[in-house]
Structures are given as structure tokens and as C-alpha cells.
């Protein structure tokens, strides 16, 4: 009976060209002829069909069949379609398994109930292939969209987990560079999120080789990876330079230069540096872009240390200012450093705690030692969230008693005494290199590799520098100290130095360095020879001893005297163009005079 009107062919071509996806379809229909027709229709549309007779069977088979779409007769004995739909939806969990109700119902209220029960659509008898196909396709699109979204959500979740795992790894790498230093000293209290480096906050503290300590708090613009990347060199510079005995100003200068080089324009690091020198009872502070730091005196006085400088990484080296505010302090005084996460903490109404909020807390303190707890309490109370403190860093440094100012026993992991202790080397610079190159940093670097000698970097530098300047100025350049007897001569001397540096042909300066370890410490021997004509050492000696007794008598002649006083042994050989010093040192530092 295939008449002229042949909807099936039209429908076939339609369904064939539309969605090719082959669906797994679970059909529950108690009415046998209807079930036969429906299953035949679905198979014709290219789907895989699983048939059951009632709602209970549909629920039982659901997990095994794992269908993409379920067709349920609305009215079935045992478990009716509506109850079955509810159970199937709950079994599907987060997956979207569309349910289509099969019904001979025509009452709109009844149809509405089907949808309320969790049905996604209904199919009214008689079954029509076009409508069935269109509905399946629409629901399949919805199902796949939902699946794609769920996968995306899943991907985002996975990415996020991966990022957190990566951050933890990165954090471990960072911790190896920016170890806790002396942050766990009894006189330092701080709050920093464990992952604070990814908020752009860094906090470092270290004990200086000669006593005293340095604390640096930084807050990079931005957060995430860019901020963390900037933090790495800062940590390395800070701990590296502190270890070599550099002070706050030099470290700030180096950090600034480095950040200016590596950070893109618009990214920089607000920071504050605190240098405590408990032997002299001094604190030096530098604030570039952070909220006011505070000196809290035991007497009750509160002194703000406002930002007076540009943040790090903004200014070029020439204009960068490292001037520090200096305070006389006594044990029991405290210094507070904080990032702007602190005053910028907001409450539920969006109001900020503000610097005035900080001042209020500080004004209400009975003792500076309460400041840390009081501020942390206040920010949690203000925001109403215990985790509000995730985005801020607060550090409180108590000025310790003199006894506590000894170098911390805790060493950074890489400060184990490994390095060459017994060695010798000769380093000679010649010809034009003499006028173009300063060998002192290199020579100092070689010496500083000796374990423990870093604590004496200042003296070693003085020794090398005086030897070198003596060889260069009086040897190679044949400048006479006599010129320095008048202010005008002093200037001329250095003008002439500059002029003569342009012609160093045929000249050399040769350093012969050797080091041998002794327990404790070691012996550094330096011989500095030059190609100059030498000088009358006896005459110099006589003048030097005169200089010693009358210190202000000449503007010159102190270099060799410094060498003589600092070195264990000091000899001038030959024509005066070969100077030898022996420097015996012990680790740690005690003032020998």
C-alpha cells in the first residue's frame, strides 16, 4: 500500500541528513502494540533500542542499559511513568538523560504534570515519525550541550587542581630560594598566606653576618605567575647579598635595578626594608609604596614611617633613592610592616578598614607587643571572615635585647660551609684593560667563595681595594700623594688620575691570592705587584707614622696605613711595587680594637 503520498521517504531523507547520532534509547511501554510500533520507528531512525514493560523494569535496567534518552509511558501498572522519571533523573545524577513521556493524554493539566515530574518532553499518540525524530534530535542536542558544559566545568576544575598542584611545586622551588631565613626568630611575628607569593606578597628576613638583621616586605603589582616570577630574583638578591654582608641600601639598589630590568613597564614592587642594628640601638627603615610602617615605642609613642620613595623597579639607578629613616630604638620597641591588603580589607558593606582603622588599633594598644594580635583580630572582626587575611601580609619585628642580637644559629639551606678553602690564583690585568676594568668585584667574589669569609667581606674589600688603588695610582699611573696636600691638589690628583688612565701601555697589575684553611677561619695571602717604578717606602713609612700620631695632617697616605693595621702581616718588597699582606681571620665578627 505504498501510495503516491510517501511521507516515509521524505522523513527518511530528513532524518538521514540531520543528526546522524545513534542513540541508546530505553523504552518502557506496557502496551504491546504501541511498544512494537515505537521500537520499529526508533530502529528505522537508526537508534539502538532497549524495551521494557513497565516503570519498575525501566528503573532496574537504567544502569545496565546506560541510555542516552528514555521514553516512558506515562500510565503504566506497577510503577507509573511519573515516579519512574523521578527515580531515573536522580540515578542519572549530574548527567542529563532526557525523558520523553509517551501518552494518549490530551488534558493539558495532565501533560503539565508530566513535565513537572522531570520529563523533558512528551510524545502524544499516535506516534509520528517526524515529530519523534525532531524531538529526539532536539533533546540530543540539549543532552550533548549539557555534556559539553559538564566536561568544560570538569576541565576547569581539573585545570584549577593542576594549577594548585603547580603552584605548590613552584612554592617549594621558591621556598628553596626564599627559605624562611630568620623569619622564625623569636622577635619576629608575621602573617602571610602560605601561597602569598602568588598574591604578589613576599616577606624575607635574615641575620647579617656582623649582627643585626634585615627584613624585607614586598608587594608586587598583579598576582599569579607574573608576581611569583618577580619574587624569585628579589629573594635571591636579598638572601645572597645579606649573606655577603651587604646592607639595606645596597640590597634595595640591586633589587630596584634588577626589577627595572626584568619587569614589564607597569609592573613593579612596593616594598619596605627594615635594618636593625641592635649593637648601636638603631633601626633604619625604607618605605617605597607600602602603607605606613610603624615604630611602636615601649613608651607609647607611635611613629608612622610613610612611603617616601617610589616602588622598586620604577626608577632608573641614578634617580633611585635609598635614603632611609633612622631611629634610635630600645629593646621592647616594635616595628610593623604591612601590605595594602591590610588597610584595604573590606567589610560586608564594602567599606575599607583604611589606614585610619590601623591607627585606631595602634592607639588602643596597652603594649606594642600586643600590636600583631590586635591588628589580626581587628581585620578578622572587621571583615567578618576568618580567611579574609589571605590577601595580606603583616610583619611585626620586636627590637631584641642585646643578647638576642647574636647571629642566628639557623642557616639558610644553601649556606652550608661548602666551597674552596685551600687554593691559590694569579690574576693579572694589562694594557688598556687597566683603564677600562675594575677587577675588585671579581677578586672579592673569588675570596667570598671561601666558606665563612663572607662575614669579613668589608675588610677583605678594603684590603683588596687599597692594594689595588695603591698599585694603580702610585705604581702604574705614578701619581704622587704629595699633590693631595691641598684641596685644589686633591682635585687635580683625581683629574690627573683620569687623564693618565688613558695611557696604560706596557703596564700591568698582578694579584697573587692564596688561601689556606685554619681551624677556625683561615689565612688569606695577597701579593699585589705592579709595573710602576715603585716609591720610596722608607720615606713613606716615616710619613705614615707621623700621620698616625697626627691624623689630620695630610689628606693622603692612609691607604697603606689601613693595610698595615688590618692585615696580620704587611710587607713592601723591592722598589715598593710589590706589596704583600697576610690576613688571618676567624668566622663571626668581634671588634678587635
Amino acid at each position: 500500500m505504498s501510495g503516491e503520498f510517501s511521507p516515509s521517504q521524505t522523513l527518511n531523507s530528513f532524518s538521514g541528513s540531520a543528526e546522524p547520532s545513534r542513540l541508546r534509547i530505553l523504552v518502557a511501554e506496557d502496551n504491546k502494540p504501541d511498544r512494537m510500533i515505537l521500537c520499529a520507528l526508533l530502529q528505522k531512525l537508526g537508534h539502538e533500542v532497549f524495551e521494557v514493560f513497565d516503570g519498575t523494569a525501566a528503573v532496574d535496567q537504567f544502569h545496565e542499559v546506560d541510555p542516552d534518552i528514555v521514553l516512558l509511558d506515562a500510565m503504566m501498572p506497577e510503577l507509573d511513568g511519573l515516579s519512574a522519571a523521578r527515580q531515573i533523573k536522580s540515578m542519572a545524577g549530574e548527567r542529563l538523560v532526557p525523558v520523553i513521556f509517551l501518552t494518549a493524554l490530551t488534558d493539558p493539566k495532565e501533560l503539565a504534570r508530566c513535565l513537572e515530574a522531570g520529563g523533558d518532553d512528551f510524545l502524544i499518540k499516535p506516534f509520528n515519525r517526524v515529530i519523534l525524530d525532531a524531538k529526539l534530535n532536539a533533546l540530543d542536542r540539549m543532552r550533548r550541550l549539557h555534556q559539553a558544559l559538564a566536561e568544560q566545568v570538569d576541565q576547569v576544575r581539573q585545570k584549577n587542581e593542576q594549577m594548585l598542584a603547580e603552584q605548590k611545586t613552584a612554592r617549594r622551588v621558591f621556598d628553596n630560594i626564599a627559605h624562611t631565613g630568620s623569619l622564625d626568630s623569636p622577635n619576629i611575628r608575621y602573617h602571610a598566606s602560605p601561597m602569598s607569593v602568588f598574591n604578589g606578597d613576599v616577606l624575607f628576613a635574615a641575620t647579617r653576618p656582623g649582627g643585626g638583621s634585615l627584613v624585607f616586605l614586598g608587594d608586587f603589582t598583579g598576582h599569579g605567575l607574573p608576581a611569583a616570577i618577580g619574587a624569585m630574583p628579589v629573594a635571591e638578591i636579598f638572601y645572597g647579598m645579606v649573606g655577603q654582608g651587604f646592607g639595606a641600601a645596597a640590597i634595595l639598589r640591586e633589587i630596584n635595578a634588577k626589577l627595572r630590568r626584568i619587569l614589564p613597564v607597569g609592573m613593579f614592587c612596593c616594598g619596605a626594608m627594615l635594618e636593625t642594628d641592635s649593637r648601636q640601638g638603631l633601626v633604619r627603615a625604607w618605605n617605597g609604596g607600602l602603607p605606613d610602617a610603624w615604630l611602636l615605642r615601649g613608651s607609647g609613642e607611635r611613629v608612622a614611617i610613610p612611603s617616601r620613595n617610589l616602588p622598586l623597579g620604577v626608577q632608573n639607578a641614578e634617580n633611585f633613592s635609598t635614603s632611609m629613616v633612622v631611629f634610635q630604638v630600645t629593646p621592647g620597641d616594635h616595628v610593623l610592616l604591612m601590605t595594602d591588603g591590610f588597610p584595604e580589607s573590606a567589610n560586608e558593606q564594602g567599606e575599607l578598614l583604611g589606614e585610619s582603622g590601623v591607627r585606631q588599633v595602634l592607639a588602643g594598644l596597652s603594649s606594642p607587643s600586643d600590636a600583631f594580635d590586635a591588628l589580626m583580630h581587628r581585620v578578622r572582626e572587621f571583615t567578618g571572615q576568618p580567611e579574609a587575611a589571605d590577601d595580606l601580609t603583616l610583619c611585626c619585628v620586636a627590637i631584641p635585647e642585646l643578647e638576642q642580637a647574636r647571629p642566628s644559629a639557623r642557616k639558610p639551606p644553601d649556606a652550608e660551609p661548602i666551597g674552596p678553602a685551600d687554593w691559590q690564583c694569579v690574576y693579572e690585568i694589562r694594557e688598556r684593560t687597566l683603564s677600562e676594568f675594575n677587577p675588585l668585584p671579581l677578586l672579592l667574589h673569588i675570596c667570598m667563595e671561601v666558606p665563612g669569609l663572607r662575614s669579613r667581606s668589608g675588610e677583605v674589600y678594603t684590603l683588596l681595594s687599597e692594594l689595588y688603588n695603591n698599585a694603580l695610582e702610585h705604581g702604574v699611573l705614578a701619581l704622587s700623594s704629595d699633590w693631595k696636600s691641598s684641596p685644589r691638589g686633591f682635585a687635580l690628583y683625581y683629574e690627573e688620575r683620569q687623564r693618565r688612565l688613558s695611557d696604560t701601555d706596557g703596564h700591568f697589575i698582578r694579584f697573587s691570592l692564596s688561601h689556606e684553611s685554619r681551624d677556625p677561619g683561615g689565612r688569606l695571602r695577597v701579593i699585589c705587584e705592579d709595573s710602576g717604578a715603585g716609591f720610596d717606602f722608607a720615606e713613606h713609612s716615616a710619613r705614615a707614622s707621623k700621620t698616625r700620631s697626627i691624623p689630620g695632617s695630610s689628606y693622603a697616605g692612609r691607604g697603606l696605613e689601613l693595610l698595615r693595621r688590618m692585615a696580620t702581616h704587611f710587607h713592601v718588597h723591592g722598589e715598593g711595587n710589590r706589596v704583600e699582606i697576610v690576613y688571618d681571620w676567624q668566622p663571626g665578627r668581634e671588634d678587635d680594637d
Binding site: 500500500m1 503520498f5 516515509s8 506496557d30 502494540p33 512494537m36 510500533i37 494518549a104
Partner: protein, 112 residues
């Protein structure tokens, strides 16, 4: 009494197309299923179970629609309504009508 044909030709054509070789099986299934339903309808009517009466009539109606037995499905719908209204005397009258129309439908199918 009968203004419309017992079977809808277009629906039948569609069914043949869908069922292909199974069309005969479908017809046999429908006829057997319907006879069982009719027996069940008589039984629940005797038991005066109007709820079961409505449900069975509803289900019967569904397969009649699908089989193209349009008039029979309309009679089932009326029977379903009588069941829902617990109007058993109307139901008894309507069931006779359903029985008669089914005999016509069955004979049409058997002649195919």
C-alpha cells in the same frame, strides 16, 4: 451510526512502512491484545472497579490511535471518561459500543 471509516488508510500506510515484514505480527498482536482488554473491561465492570475501567480504557485508546482505529479510540475515550466519572451504567452501554466497533475493526484488519 458510522460516519467515518473504521481504519485510517494513511495511518495504515505509515504503519506498513514502519513495520515492514512485521506488519502482520503487529496486527495479530493488536487483535489479541484488544480481545484481552475487552475481557478485562467486562471483568472490572462486573467488579464495579471504575478506576481500573478508566485505566484499561485509556490504554486501549492509546493502541487504537496508533493502529489507525480512530473511531474505536474515540469510543474508548468516552468509556475512559465514564470510568473516571464512576458512571457504571453509561460504561456498560459504552463497552457494548466498543465491542461492536472492535468487531468491525477486526474484520477490516482480517481482510487486509
Amino acid at each position: 451510526m458510522i460516519d467515518q471509516p473504521h481504519l485510517d488508510e494513511a495511518a495504515l500506510a505509515e504503519l506498513r512502512d514502519v513495520m515492514e515484514d512485521d506488519f502482520g505480527v503487529l496486527v495479530d498482536t493488536f487483535l489479541a491484545d484488544s480481545r484481552a482488554r475487552l475481557r478485562h473491561l467486562h471483568q472490572v465492570l462486573e467488579q464495579e472497579d471504575s478506576d481500573q475501567l478508566a485505566k484499561t480504557a485509556h490504554s486501549f485508546k492509546g493502541s487504537c490511535i496508533n493502529m489507525g482505529a480512530t473511531h474505536l479510540s474515540e469510543l474508548c475515550a468516552q468509556l475512559e471518561r465514564a470510568g473516571k466519572a464512576a458512571d457504571l451504567s453509561a460504561a456498560a452501554r459504552l463497552l457494548d459500543g466498543v465491542e461492536a466497533e472492535f468487531a468491525e475493526v477486526a474484520s477490516c484488519f482480517e481482510q487486509l
